[in-house]
């Protein structure tokens, strides 16, 4: 459905999509140069929710930055926490007890499922179908209940600590998680019939919004976006952090490069996450959940390091530069949404407005994560 930009008369107008628009999921503004309903140029204007988390990271001690991590990608807050504590632990040479790593994996994967469920719903809302959102919320609510019972919060978890996690999980949580997995498994055929197979949905997203693997590489797009383009890049496999190397799971890859592929990747990932959680629950070791001798104020030695986690949206990286003091000298937060968003301009050129919004939806953007 693309048209050659040169072939049309130069009768364009500028459409200001956002900062408040139902399809932008937050304060994202896109300056669209349109020819009729065709997009000639899309210039995302970001930064409305910019809070300078990186400066905050320099101004406060390592531990005091922990609550900030949940406020960037608030839909999948645990990954940000994981990336941050992982980087600091790597820099400070802290060894995390195995049980804590298992708990991190379990809670992270639960968070991944909840994030993907929310995405499925929100994507369908972008496409004009409202009901799947509520079904997804119904399932997601159970995850939030589980995570609330262990972390104490429903969205901004702030659960991981340097050297472990703040609370141990109990049997109720384990039983609840198993029950939830069983219930979500039984719901998946419903989603399949209701959304995936739906002819309107398929006609809308199949072949739409092609992003080639090369584009992903050039723009640094990661997560389901690159896996929907046929590249099996998953940080959990490529550089196994935490205890992911102990689990048996696949990286779902679809080669169609379209919105449907990205959708299918996320659906398949939920299944893989459930597999990981089940394995982790089966082999959950006993022991402490906090490393011993973690100093109250952490002062890592001079140096820098990089730590990457596979967030629900892609590769979330943290670079910590320490000068030996109790504050980080520099804290770089590499957010997956930032890179995923940056390819929108190139890929949306020549698309119709609703198609471009479907593409925008399929990138799974959390605007505060872009703006940081």
């Amino acid at each position: 459905m693309s048209i050659d930009a040169q072939s049309v008369l130069n009768e364009t107008f500028v459409l200001n999509l956002g900062p408040q628009h139902p399809a932008t999921h937050g304060v994202l503004r896109i300056k669209l140069t349109m020819d009729g309903e065709y997009i000639m140029d899309a210039d995302p204007v970001i930064g409305y929710g910019h809070r300078m988390h990186e400066k905050m990271g320099e101004n406060r001690t390592y531990a005091k930055f922990l609550p900030n991590t949940g406020r960037m990608d608030y839909v999948a807050a645990l990954f940000n926490g994981h990336g941050y504590v992982g980087a600091v632990e790597r820099l400070a040479g802290l060894v995390v007890p195995e049980r804590a790593e298992y708990i991190r994996v379990i809670t992270s994967e639960l968070n991944r499922i909840s994030s993907h469920l929310l995405w499925v719903g929100a994507f369908l809302v972008d496409l004009g179908g409202f009901t799947p959102l509520l079904y997804c919320f119904d399932d997601r609510e159970q995850i939030l209940d589980l995570l609330e019972s262990v972390t104490g919060a429903r969205l901004t978890f702030c659960y991981y600590r340097f050297g472990g996690v703040s609370n141990d999980i109990d049997d109720d949580f384990v039983a609840g998680t198993r029950k939830f997995i069983a219930s979500l498994r039984s719901r998946m055929p419903m989603y399949d019939a209701f959304v995936t197979k739906n002819i309107i949905f398929r006609k809308r997203v199949e072949g739409l919004g092609a992003i080639s693997a090369e584009t992903c590489r050039k723009y640094g797009a990661t997560g389901p976006v690159i896996r929907g383009s046929g590249v099996a890049y998953d940080v959990r496999k490529a550089e196994p952090y935490s205890v992911y190397s102990k689990f048996n799971f696949d990286v779902p890859v679809y080669t169609q490069c379209d919105c449907m592929a990205r959708y299918l990747v996320r659906i398949a990932e939920m299944g893989e996450s459930m597999r990981i959680i089940e394995q982790a629950l089966d082999t959950l070791p006993a022991g402490p959940v906090m490393a011993e001798k973690v100093p109250r104020t952490l002062k890592p030695a001079k140096g820098d390091c990089y730590f990457n986690v596979e967030s629900a949206r892609g590769s979330f990286g943290v670079r910590v530069v320490s000068d030996g003091s109790e504050n980080a000298y520099r804290l770089k937060l590499r957010s997956p949404c930032f890179s995923n968003m940056s390819l929108f301009r190139e890929c949306s050129r020549g698309m119709l407005l609703p198609d471009a919004l479907a593409l925008l939806g399929s990138l799974d953007l959390v605007i505060p994560d872009i703006d940081r």
Partner: protein, 146 residues
């Protein structure tokens, strides 16, 4: 021609399946609560705003004014002060205020407390038109609460 008809038939079938799914959901259990007439009880670990714990033997707060929570707070919303009375073995709390407007409910203060003097309140219906309602005098709360 056959694929054309087949596509139409399959497509229409998926639409009917979709309608059937929404139809049967009409007879499922409602998952929402009729808030505010019904509301949920918070889980034991729910991180509400903080509250001081009371020493049941003396009726006084357990806090020993070590200031750890004030130091741990990322947003600087805890202010406490203590004074040592004549002959008392240790400092006693004279004021403890929580500025809930800047609190981010991270719970680092509770974790930093080595004397089990802080807990999370399970209150969550905290809405007010007045900002001053959120400058909470926790000392007063703990002494008043029976």
């Amino acid at each position: 021609m056959i694929t054309y008809i087949k596509e139409i038939v399959c497509g229409v079938y998926t639409l009917f399946v979709g309608m059937w799914i929404t139809f049967i959901h009409m007879f499922r259990r409602r998952v929402t609560l009729n808030y505010p007439r019904q509301s949920l009880k918070m889980t034991p670990r729910y991180r509400g705003h903080i509250d001081l714990k009371r020493d049941e033997a003396t009726g006084q707060p357990k806090c020993i004014v070590c200031m750890a929570c004030q130091r741990a707070c990322p947003s600087g919303c805890i202010k406490l002060d203590g004074a040592k009375a004549e002959g008392a073995p240790r400092k006693a709390l004279t004021s403890y205020t929580l500025d809930f407007t800047t609190c981010s409910l991270c719970g680092l203060c509770v974790e930093s407390c080595n004397f089990d003097a802080l807990k999370f309140s399970k209150e969550y219906n905290l809405a007010s038109m007045n900002k001053d309602d959120y400058r909470m005098d926790l000392l007063k709360r703990v002494l008043e609460k029976k």
